[in-house]
Amino acid sequence: MYRYFSEIFSGLWSLIVGMRITLVEFFKPNITLHYPHQTVKMPARYRGHIELIADEEGKPRCVVCGMCEKACPSGCITLEGEKPEGSKKKVLTSYKLDFTKCSLCGSCVDSCNFGAVEYSKEYNLASTRKEDYHFDLLKRLEDRHS
């Protein structure tokens, strides 16, 4: 008999305690961010898709060693370069990133010994077309510097 009533009362008390907590929460300010109207600032180390880094002249720092291409687990990087007449260094002619396959692991940046690629801070990437994610990074670099 005693257990019966004590269970009822302790049960009721636990319910009241719970309700008090949610009532307190009710009057606390909101913690959510109104996404399209407000946005978060990406942290400095945010890993977006990669982007080529330019040197002082606006040319890509890339020396076409192909380490990133080899390191990429998903094979989303294809790059080409050619040796112009009379030059010792190769020059980058195309750097394509297939972002549909990229898993943002960062192996390419890790593997680059010349500091030629970095992460972009872009995250508002949405499209209904697959082709929008075949990035031509060289072109993007030129666009930024023109």
């Binding site: 009822i8 319910l15 009532l23 929460e25 009710f26 909101n30 913690i31 109104h34």
Partner: protein
């Protein structure tokens, strides 16, 4: 005679409007309440504070295709949502909002509400049965056993109140509680009876109305994580909309009844500003409590629900009935 019919007709139209507006805006309240409890703003995009959300939702529901899945029992399938909505609207006819505002007062008003209230369980059963969906089926069986289990303590507590008032007329019950805060049925002091169990009676009635309206924590019928959407899994468009409105209309009825039976109806606590607003204030406070409870507790299971009903609520309410009868005899 014709005047009475006209009266009732107008009352029903007003009741439908009241129910529809309430149902629509209670959804908004629910979402806002849930939002604030969870520290987010709830609907905000449509209109000021998202106030246009309910009409927008209504239009969306109405423009959707009414799907009738193959293999269902068509007649029952179509009748069920209507049956979920219709009795609740009828019940509003006899609910007194204040001394003057009542569509048609009856001396058996309470009985009528209970009769129509039981019909909603039938609607759920019909919906679940006709849907040809195992989840819906389980859900409707649950809903019925729950409704039966909770009807009993609810009726027993109601009888207690009826005995105190000596009438089944809702007006009369409110009048008996007139005279201020301490005269309401919820307090042990009312009518010179020192019945200490009355607050518990109120609690029992409140719990039962939660269970009757299939609200959390007793929303076993539409236990989302178990039975997907329960009895209205197969319903789309306004079929679903009617169930939804019926649920909220039931909540309003439950709150109205609790107010009338225990919180003194439109009676103002300390003689301040008497009027219909006291009634509305009380029912909306109760509705807020419904929402508050829903967003606080997890769901019970069918056996703990039945255990609660048969082992706790029914014995206590029966004991209170006996005690009240004894006290009435003594005083």
């Amino acid at each position: 005679m014709t005047l009475t019919f006209l009266n009732i007709f107008i009352a029903v139209v007003i009741a439908i409007a009241f129910v529809a507006a309430n149902a629509a805006y209670l959804v908004w309240c629910e979402r806002k309440g849930a939002g604030f409890i969870q520290r987010r703003p709830g609907p905000t995009e449509n209109g000021l504070w998202g106030l246009l959300q309910p009409p927008v939702d209504g239009i969306k529901l109405m423009t959707k295709q009414l799907m009738i899945p193959g293999g269902v029992d068509k007649i029952v399938f179509i009748i069920a949502p209507v049956l979920a909505m219709f009795p609740t609207i009828i019940s509003f006819v006899t609910i007194p909002f204040s001394d003057q505002i009542v569509a048609h007062n009856m001396n058996i008003g309470l009985l009528m509400i209970f009769v129509f209230g039981s019909m909603s369980a039938m609607a759920l059963l019909m919906a679940g049965w006709s849907s040809r969906n195992k989840f819906a089926m389980i859900s409707s069986v649950r809903a019925v056993s729950q409704a039966v289990a909770y009807e009993i303590p609810m009726l027993v507590t109601t009888i207690t109140v009826v005995m105190i008032a000596g009438s089944m007329d809702l007006m009369e019950i409110v009048h008996k509680q007139g005279g201020g805060f301490w005269h309401w049925n919820i307090w042990p002091l009312q009518n010179g009876l020192f019945n200490v169990l009355m607050p518990f009676s109120f609690l029992i009635f409140f719990i039962c109305s939660l269970a009757e309206t299939n609200r959390a924590p007793f929303d076993l019928g539409e236990a989302e994580s178990e039975l997907v959407a329960g009895y209205h899994t197969e319903y789309s468009s306004m079929g679903f909309g009617l169930f939804f409105m019926g649920e909220y209309a039931n909540i309003v009825i439950g709150a109205c009844l609790t107010t009338i039976l225990f919180l003194g109806g439109w009676d103002c606590p300390f003689g301040l500003f008497p009027g219909v607003w006291w009634f509305l204030l009380k029912i909306y406070f109760l509705i807020f409590t419904f929402i508050w409870i829903r967003w606080t507790f997890p769901r019970t299971t069918i056996y703990s629900l039945l255990n609660l009903s048969w082992k706790v609520l029914i014995p206590i309410s029966l004991f209170n009935l006996l005690l009240t009868a004894g006290l009435l005899k003594v005083f």
